[in-house]
Amino acid sequence: MQETIIQLALAVLILPLVSYLVQIFAGKRLPRQGDWLATGFLGAAFLIALYIAIHFLSAFDQTLSYNLNFQWLNLGKEWSIQLGVKVDNLAAITLAMVTLISFLVHLYSIAYMHDDSRYATYFGYLGLFTFSMLGIVLSDNLFSMYMFWELVGLSSYLLIGFWFQKKEAAAASTKAFVVNRIGDIGMWLGILILWSQFYTVNLDEIIAGIQNGQFTLSNTWLTIGGILLFMGAVGKSAQFPLHVWLPDAMEGPTPVSALIHAATMVAAGVYFVARIFVILSPDALTVIAVIGGFTAFMAATMALTQNDIKRILAYSTVSQLGYMIMGLGVGAYSAAMFHLLTHAFFKACLFLGSGAVIYAMHHEQDIREMGGLRKKLPITFITYAVATAALAGLPLFSGFLSKDAIIAGGWGWASFHGGGWYNVVPALGLTAALLTAFYMGRQVFLVFFGEPRNKEKYDHAHEVPAVMWIPLVVLSVLSLFPLFSLNPLSGDAGWFMNLIPSLQTVVPGIDGAGKLTELTELTHHAHWSTVISSVLMALVGLAIAFFIYMKNAVDTDKLAQSLRPLYLMSFNKWYFDEIYEVTVVRGNIVLAKVSAFFDTFVIDFLVNTTGFLVGFFGLLVRKFQTGKVQSYIAFALIGVLVFFVLKGVF
């Protein structure tokens, strides 16, 4: 079985790559520019991935995993760089999730991107992205994970900048890649620390090495290494302080936003942290939890006041990723992974839904120009509402199960550490839940309810074609609770949490098993209070949105006026872009100009001065060369005389 599964997994990995190559080199010459081919490839990949996932689900063995290694680089030493794939429960489920969403996005793009002049290239890029993403999912080692990590960055760069004629899109793609690279450098340094200790990049071997106490440096280094590795996730999963690229990435086509910047690539960071979870020291995990919690809260506040439908979703993505990171940080490993899965479906649904709205409104993205669209776009509305409910964390929807588990894990973690300031982290998560419900309510009410605010665009709007609404329906069905857990109020009983249990740390000096048991117990303890409080939060958030935007109970402008500093802070995204512009970007430019100046006017000046001085000396000496034979004789004579005189003197 092992071989078959590995081969199938490799087939899933390769199919999108083939799609990419075909589309780039031959796409334009194919009938319909090859969209059917690319979509077909992905469909096939999804079916194979589904088969793999079913295999794992039917086996239902927590420890089942298949491995395949090969030697990539052998430098004639006792070590070599081994790359390979590993398919376990988590990889199999993620594989199916990624291929499914990628397939649906392909399908959706057939209509959405129909008129684009680079239609074939677009599908090629989607293939490249899917390939790199699957590479991350399947990698059993840090090295190839890093390679695919950067390739994902490349395809994201290409897709964000797909409409390169737009200056904003080009700038956003550069920003995305560069900001990601900052994180990647950290990740790379983390890999180097582990490499210099174990001379292997294989994750299982590294984990075993740490477990056996072969990590010869102090645990501080393990913490530093863990945080450095986590930096990669900070970049890719858009966590504070590297979150700034994700909202700008919305310049890309909307299906791309759904695939890359909501469901899969940004989740790669979370997936990566999950993969290295067991070697993270408690200190590193605390840092991770704090950053996650803070990001969840911060991004939610930013989403409150945005007017671009996609940007609201972008900040919401950042916020939700914060939840997942926080979940990992607090040790709610399976809850975080669970949220990764559920979030992928409902967020992809939201993005594709927003794409449908934008498509129907002829590329209008401002929610203030919309309104009343539920009558024009009934299918889109229903699916959107379902996904919103899931995001807001209403019971009966998937998001509730996973989000609730994370927050409960947060409370459990806080009490494990004896409360105190540790309570801030889950509290931030809970507050973010309130804010999430509010801004999603605001968006739904403004877009789908009320009176149309732009009559002309409203009149031209009509329901999207079937290739676009079918993915919406599929994804919204996947956002309902029964698929994940039969108990609508708890995910603990669901298959996911049982198939992918929480892991215990292998860091030496910590009683991993004991810690895990205690954490689980405390989490269970916090469960019911969390359910009640988070449902309350969601309802309150929705209610506030309802009163403000449906009943117009409060004048929004006046509200903004009375809370002006807070409003501006949120509207301007806490001024992160401005701060980075002034410090990092300007600083970089200045540094570059200074060194260019230094090079030309100092170093090269010294070089030229040396040359000039030599030439000048030559000019002086040249005076002696009169060209007259007689003066030469005179010089010779003088020379001889001087010689004799000196000889006489000494």
Partner: protein
Amino acid sequence: MILSGLIFIPMIIALLMIVVPKEKTAVFRWGAILASVIQLALVAILVQNYDLTKAGINEAAGYQFVENYSWIKVSAGSYGILDISYTLGIDGLSLPMLILTAFVGLIGVISSFSIEKYIKGYFISYLILLSAMTGVFAALDFFLFYLFWEMMLIPMYFLIGIWGGPRREYAAIKFFLYTFIGSLLMLLVIIGLYFSYVTNPGAAPEDMIHSFNMITMMNQGNLVAGSLLSVEHWRHVAFILMFLGFAVKIPMFPFHTWLPDAHVEAPTPISVILAGVLLKMGTYGLVRVLWPIFPESVLYFAWLIALFGVINILYGALTAMGQTDLKKLIAYSSISHMGFVLLGLASLTTEGTMGAMVQMFSHGIISAMLFLVVGVIYDRAHHRDIDGFGGLAKQMPVYAGITLFAFFASLGLPGLSGFVAEALVFMGGFSQPVTQNLTIIATLGMLITAIYYLWTYQKVFTGELNPKYTGLTEINSRELTMMTALGVSILLVGIYPSSLTDLMTVSVNHLNDLVKSAGTVMVGLN
């Protein structure tokens, strides 16, 4: 005979060209192609018959395809016997460089088809240059090495000085003087080595055979007792002098300013050769000569070398970011990338040294591609001002794609050759306490490189198409052929690096062992 053939066939063809009347341009062009293709074929034979298990470095028996003829042998009385031999041979360090020279040489010839001025003189100079470069990588006698080293200078001077841009004389003279001073320092040390090493150390002074053979000098048992270079601090001095000689060629900060000028003024194919092959002669000199001959100095100065490597990486990258001329930007990026070679070599680990070697090869093909990319746009728009373009991706989509490929290759995207090299250098540098902190700083180079390449791409290719350039033609098939050849090799090394590293593994390991063991023995010499 294969190596002699490899070296002299271009020169013979160049000599034959002298009698051809200068109007027959096709003869010169296709003659040069012929010479390059023969070279490439011979290199293929070398690779085919190369024994991967032999190390070379300081073992005469480990060299392959050796040709050894006594050339000049004179008795100099009490100064012993002067022995210069014509010795050629290759090991794992030189073979990749020969592949690179033949490959980039052919690309350069194809690119030279766009040269319209004094075609006869151009191709004759070009072929002599090719011979000299090949000679440097195959010579095992220091005298011969130096001869080829200097021989390369003259055609290069003319190629920049005659076929170059507006400030070509300035650039050519600067290039010449800089490298010449470097070679003089080298010559000084060569003479010192000549007096200090003999093939028969026990003999009476007048019977001692003073050989210029490099391998003789790599074996410390051949040191003449009491000679200048048997004194430790003189060995350090000699090391520094020779290092500076090679550093000019690499080029290492602060001796790098000839490079941007030379690149900016040189015609495209010459830039390709300059960045693709010539710069590697400096770093090749380090591993071929300096590391095995002065192992204890290498250990002693490792930190300093790494420091300069890191300065190169960061300073080169930052300065590149401050440029407005596309070609200058790429010239500075070359400086930045050559810093990785220094860092890798200074780490004295297998990974680091291998990374440096891969970087030499990889930078050779990537920078060749980058300069071709610049050449394409310069031929069409007649300027290279980064801010003067805009939106070209619309007009030239294939060209834009190729440029993006080259840029990403240069900024170290995994799957392309630059990544393999940088990754190995980082791995090696980080695992050694001496270079660890510097390696951490050097990773910033990855970021700066990404910034300047992507900014450049953004400025030149994205946004609305500059209305001035609606008439630009897409990249033609000749240019596309060159780019494809380079692109495929970049991909090959990037995805399957063993194809390159297997050639070097044994030699690189041997070099490291030699430096480490000999270095520790030698420290107690005095």
